[in-house]
Every structure is written in structure tokens, then in C-alpha cells.
Amino acid sequence: MSDLIRVMYVEDEPDIRAVAKLALEVVGGMTVSLCERGNLAVSQAERFLPQMILLDVMMPGMDGPSTLKALREHPQLHKVPVAFMTAKVQAHEIERFKSLGAVGVIPKPFDPMTLAQQVKDLWRLTEEES
């Protein structure tokens, strides 16, 4: 099993981006590539080649679910596990996200001290399944 190092985070709120990057890099020891818009995510992921992608659900323009769809259609990126990060949602929405192909949902607000562990746990889950 390989370690999770390269993570891409797509999120439109700059402060949340900054805090998540800090949490994943400093606490979690990962390398994080940030992306502020869904429509830029695919080309950025092509270059960065993340092991896992985190998507905000509600973004102006291309939202999280549509970004996921675009990633799924990409020949090199379709296998990269994707998790949504979103404020408290109802159970049926979590089911909907999973049916779109997301490996899980990380709830917001997140605690910067434990975010990296949550992400790694999801990653481990996908590694075990594959």
C-alpha cells in the first residue's frame, strides 16, 4: 500500500483553501495543489497527477458534481479517487454523491488538526477496495 502524498483540492473560498492546504501539508505531510474553479480542475490534475482529489460541492460555475463527472470522463484521471467536502448534508445527498462515484464525503466545518487523518482514512478505504 502506498502512502497518500499528492492531493488536489478544488475550492472557491480562498481562506478555506489556505487552511486546508496548511492542515494537509503541515499536519499531514502531504503535497497539496490548490485549484479555485471546477473548470480548471481537469487540466490542473493532468499536470499535477494527484493520488486523490477533494472537491467542494457548491462552487460558482462548474460545481463539484459536474467537476467529478468531467474527471470521470478523462482517460488518465478517471481512476483517481474523489471525495466531496461539504457542509452538513442529509443522508440521501451523501448517497447521491457516492452514486456519482465519490469515495466519500468529508464534512465541513473541518478541524485542521484532524483533516489530514480523515483524508488518509478515506484513501486507505479506496486502497483496500482496489
Partner: protein, 554 residues
């Protein structure tokens, strides 16, 4: 800036923007009241609340976050219940007051109960604890347990003591430390003990395991190895060696990614290998033009070269031979990657100074494993060559080389730099009174404490006997003084014990700072630091003396 300060800075930015966000929500709410209820507006409002719920909580505004989430859910249920009837009804209007009250929650500021270090509830101590490397110790003997805990804590590990394996195992289900330090001797007394089943809980986790045992025989060591032990210590314990080993294991966990240089004229294939290696967490660069290899080695300093055997105009063997002409790259691992199946030709290629031969096609796993193990081995060898065995700090010659390099770098980047020289006070007396083994322990403790207290970018060396050199890059003199004086005080507080006698030691430190504009070479700088150290000694020892920058140059 440490993590907490960085988080604080981001939080401050957010708090500045928050009034604007709340105003926007109020405006949306007011419009809802004044105009006919409008579905699109309600959806926009819901989205704003959703975002607020997510971000406010992350910055410690728990109450505001919860209120926003609640209001968003109310809004959702209004939307879904009224959707069929063509628009929301009066309930929407009741939301308005609730929405206006949001700003009240915001004014209360970050909640002290927030489970976030930013909140007032978290003290610097708890934050630091989160950043320290976590060690769990299983030790059934109360006395040894207490001694080890004291040592671990004085070396800045966050340590937790367990006396029974079963308790440790159940805590492990909740949370995993970086290091498990397990003494299974007390479990030994029970003849039915089955380690293999008892130790299942940490198999395949990222925690590293070190065993302590009363048995030192081959069978016991083999069993520990099969359970994934990274190290094995036999009682009675050599505590400094144990701490040193823990440090090494932790350092390995934090080791930088392996840097690979791929030399191949087949661009597609090179890019494929690059992706495979990056996917395994390494850094990989491609060089398509072999004649540039030396300058690329200088700038990239890879850990390993992966090269094709046949390239247009140049063979891999000859390229390897050129690389080996440079003394600096004699130890750099070179691995061929080629479709050459003839064992005779493969051997011939290896004779020219390469380390391994991989035959294409190769599975990704094979490639990754070979590259990783070559790098690990070569890093170990480099450590052995350049590092002092007692302290794992750079040896005399290596620290001088490092100083020359860092000095050049500081000048190019126009950064300040400080060099400190330090010497344990009255070290001869420590040796005479408590023996050489104890002297070694004191020396090793200086090294470990330095690693704990200084930044990872600082370069540390053992200059000779009880003398140390520290290079603090991009660091002004005041900052260096603060850090080293803090180190000096902490060192003085360390307690050493030998045969029931407890003693402590002190250290004197001289610092020579330079400004990027100063014309000074490494030797002069060391002399300046040594002068400052001499002053510290002659003024009564156990102190830090800062040489003025101008004086250092003269």
C-alpha cells in the same frame, strides 16, 4: 511562522471578510421580505448559508456555523414542501429575523469550546502536543516506565504510557501514534502468550514499532522482525542509544521524497515512468539530452539515475563512465532500464559503474521497489560516510563543506546566516566522575536536543569531542540568539543519572552572524564563532555570546 501562527493569520483574514458575508445574507433576507417570495433567491440564500456553515466552523465560530446550518435546513424544507405549490409561503418570511440574528452570533467571536486550536480554549501546550511526534510506550515495570517517559518527554516527544498490551491495543483502535515502543517482557511471564496474535492490531498501519525485550537470542529477534519491528533493544537498556534510534526512525518517516532523474530519449516512455514514480510519492525529472547531465546533476542533486542503455549518439555505459569521472557523483546509484536481454551485455554494462539492470518491460511495482530501495541504501551509506556514529550529526569535514555550500547559497539568495560554535562546560569532569559511557550520553543528548529545538533547515555538526557547530540559514542574529539561549537553558535542565547519582551539565555557545554583503569565507566565520565561544567560556560559561557582524568580518 509555526502552524498555529499561520492558522491564526488565515483566521484573521476570514474574520475581516465575515461582516461582508453576513451583510450579503442580510440583504438577501431583506429582499425576500420586501419583494414577492422568489424561489431563485431562496436557493441563493441557501447556498450562502451552506457556505457559511462550512467555513465559520473551520475558523472556530462553532455557534455561528451551527445556526447557519440549521437555517439552511429550514430553508430547504420550506423549498421542498412548497415546491409543488409554485413558491414558498409565509414561513420564509419568519426566517428573516433568524437571519438577521446571525450577525449577533458572529460578534461573539470564535467559541472557546471550539475543537480548534485557534479558539481561546486551546493553550499553546496542547497545540504543540498535536505537532510533536507521538510515542506510545508499553512498559510493565513502573520504574523503567517512569524513567523512559521522563527521557522521551525531555526530548520533546509526546509520550503516553501503558502497562498492559490489551489497553494499548484498544486505545490503538481510536488513534495511532507514529511510534510504538513495546516492552513485552512482562507478558513473557504468561507462558500462553502468543505475540503474533496479540500484535495483529498494529500490522499494516503506518505506526513504526520498536521492541524492548529481556531476551536477546536470535529466535526472539526473528519473531520481532516478523512482526515488523524497526529496531530491537535488549535490557538493561542503553537509553541514549534507544532515543537516538527513535530519532532515526522518526527522521526516516519525515525523509524527503526520493528524487529520480530519468535519462531516456524515448519521451513517451520516460513520461510514463515519471508518472509511475510520482504516483509512488517520489519526485522525477526527465532529461532527454544526455550531454546536459552534469549540469542537471549539479542543480537537481537526484538520489538515483534511471537511464536507457541505448540512446542516439551515446551509450548508457559511456554516459555512466562520464558521471563517474566526477568524484562527487561516484556514489550516485545508476540503474539501467533497457530491453537488452543478453546477460553478457547486461554484465558488461554493469561493469562500467552502474548499480543495477532492469529489463523492459517492467511492472510498475518492480520499478518502484527497486528505485526506493536503491535510494534508501544510498542514503544510509551517505549517512555513514558523513555522519558521526554517536550523534548522527555531520562530521568535522562534512560540516565545513556544508558551511561553504550554505554560505554561497546565502550570498546568492541575499539572506542572513549565523554560525554557532558550542562546547560542553567542564566535560572532562563529567568523564572523570561518571565515566566515558556517561560522557557519551551527554554528548548524544546535546545532538538530540539540538535536533529537537532547531529548524529542519539548520545544519548540525559534531566538530570534535564535545564541540558542536550549528549553521542557521536565513536567520538573523537576534533570532539565533533567542533559539540558542533557549536551547542552552533546556540543556541545563536535562537530568542525567548514573548509579543513583543525578547530575546536569551546561554548555557555552558563541555565535557569528553574517550579512549577505559581507566578504567572509567559511574558515574566517568559524574562527569568529570560536572567538565568541572563547568569550562565553571566559565570562563564566553556561552562556551565549553573540559576535557583532562587523567584528566577525575582521
Amino acid at each position: 511562522m509555526n502552524l498555529n501562527e499561520q492558522l491564526q493569520a488565515i483566521q484573521d483574514e476570514y474574520l475581516k471578510k465575515l461582516p461582508g458575508i453576513l451583510d450579503q445574507i442580510s440583504v438577501l433576507a431583506r429582499e425576500l421580505q420586501q419583494t414577492a417570495p422568489n424561489r431563485d433567491r431562496l436557493i441563493t440564500l441557501g447556498q450562502e448559508l451552506h457556505k457559511l456553515a462550512g467555513s465559520a466552523g473551520t475558523f472556530g465560530l462553532t455557534v455561528l456555523s451551527e445556526r447557519a446550518a440549521e437555517l439552511n435546513q429550514n430553508l430547504d424544507s420550506i423549498l421542498s414542501s412548497k415546491a409543488a405549490e409554485g413558491g414558498p409561503g409565509n414561513e420564509a418570511l419568519q426566517l428573516k429575523d433568524a437571519l438577521d440574528s446571525l450577525s449577533l452570533f458572529a460578534k461573539t467571536g470564535p467559541s472557546p469550546n471550539a475543537n480548534l486550536p485557534l479558539g481561546a480554549g486551546a493553550t499553546p501546550a496542547t497545540i504543540n502536543k498535536l505537532l510533536l511526534d507521538q510515542i506510545w510506550l508499553l512498559e510493565g515495570e513502573p520504574q523503567l516506565g517512569a524513567t523512559l517517559m521522563a527521557h522521551l518527554e525531555s526530548f520533546n516527544f509526546s509520550a503516553r504510557l501503558f502497562t498492559r498490551l490489551s489497553e494499548l491495543a484498544s486505545a490503538f483502535a481510536e488513534e495511532q501514534p507514529q511510534i510504538l515502543l513495546l516492552d513485552l517482557s512482562s507478558e513473557d511471564e504468561n507462558p500462553s502468550t502468543d505475540y503474533v496474535s496479540q500484535c495483529q492490531f498494529f500490522q499494516n498501519t503506518s505506526s513504526r514499532v520498536i521492541f524492548i525485550s529481556s531476551k536477546g537470542d536470535f529466535a526472539a529477534r526473528l519473531e520481532a522482525a516478523s512482526l515488523g519491528a524497526q529496531a530491537y533493544f535488549v535490557k538493561p537498556l542503553d537509553v541514549p542509544k534507544l532515543i537516538n534510534r527513535i530519532e532515526q526512525v522518526v527522521a526516516n518517516m519525515h525523509a524527503p521524497a526520493e528524487k529520480v532523474l530519468i535519462i531516456d530519449d524515448d519521451e513517451m516512455l520516460a513520461q510514463y515512468y515519471q508518472q509511475v514514480l510520482i504516483g509512488a510519492g517520489m519526485q522525477a525529472e526527465i532529461l532527454a539530452r544526455p550531454e546536459k547531465v552534469i549540469s542537471v546533476l549539479e542543480s537537481n542533486t537526484p538520489d538515483v539515475i534511471l537511464m536507457d542503455l541505448q540512446m542516439p549518439g551515446i551509450s548508457g555505459q559511456n554516459l555512466a563512465a562520464v558521471i563517474r569521472q566526477y568524484a562527487r557523483w561516484v556514489g550516485l546509484p545508476i540503474v539501467y532500464l533497457s530491453a537488452e536481454h543478453d546477460p553478457h551485455l547486461q554484465l558488461l554494462a554493469l561493469k562500467q559503474g552502474a548499480d543495477d539492470f532492469l529489463v523492459k518491460p517492467i511492472t510498475n511495482e518492480h520499478l518502484v521497489t527497486v528505485v526506493k530501495s536503491k535510494v534508501a541504501r544510498s542514503r544510509q551509506l551517505i549517512d555513514l560516510m558523513t555522519k558521526d556514529s554517536l550523534t548522527s550529526l555531520l562530521k568535522h569535514a562534512a560540516i565545513k563543506d556544508a558551511l561553504r555550500r550554505e554560505l554561497g547559497l546565502a550570498r546568492r539568495k541575499k539572506e542572513e546566516l549565523c554560525v554557532a560554535m558550542m562546547d560542553i562546560d567542564h566535560f572532562k569532569q563529567v568523564n572523570d566522575q561518571f565515566g566515558h559511557a556517561m560522557g557519551d550520553e551527554v554528548i548524544a543528548s546535546v545532538a538530540t536536543l539540538l535536533r529537537m529545538r532547531l529548524r529542519r533547515t539548520d545544519v548540525l555538526g559534531r566538530y570534535g569531542g564535545e564541540e558542536f557547530v550549528v549553521i542557521m540559514c536565513n536567520c538573523g542574529s537576534n533570532e539565533a540568539f533567542k533559539v540558542l539561549d533557549d536551547f542552552r537553558q533546556r540543556f541545563q535542565e536535562l537530568k542525567f543519572s548514573v548509579e543513583g547519582k543525578v547530575f546536569s551539565a551546561t554548555i557555552s555557545i558563541g555565535i557569528a552572524p553574517i550579512k549577505p554583503t559581507m566578504e567572509i569565507d567559511a574558515d574566517m566565520l568559524l574562527v569568529a564563532a570560536d572567538k565568541a565561544l572563547y568569550q562565553a567560556k571566559s565570562q563564566g560559561r553556561n552562556r551565549v555570546i553573540l559576535q557583532k557582524a562587523e567584528t566577525a568580518a575582521n
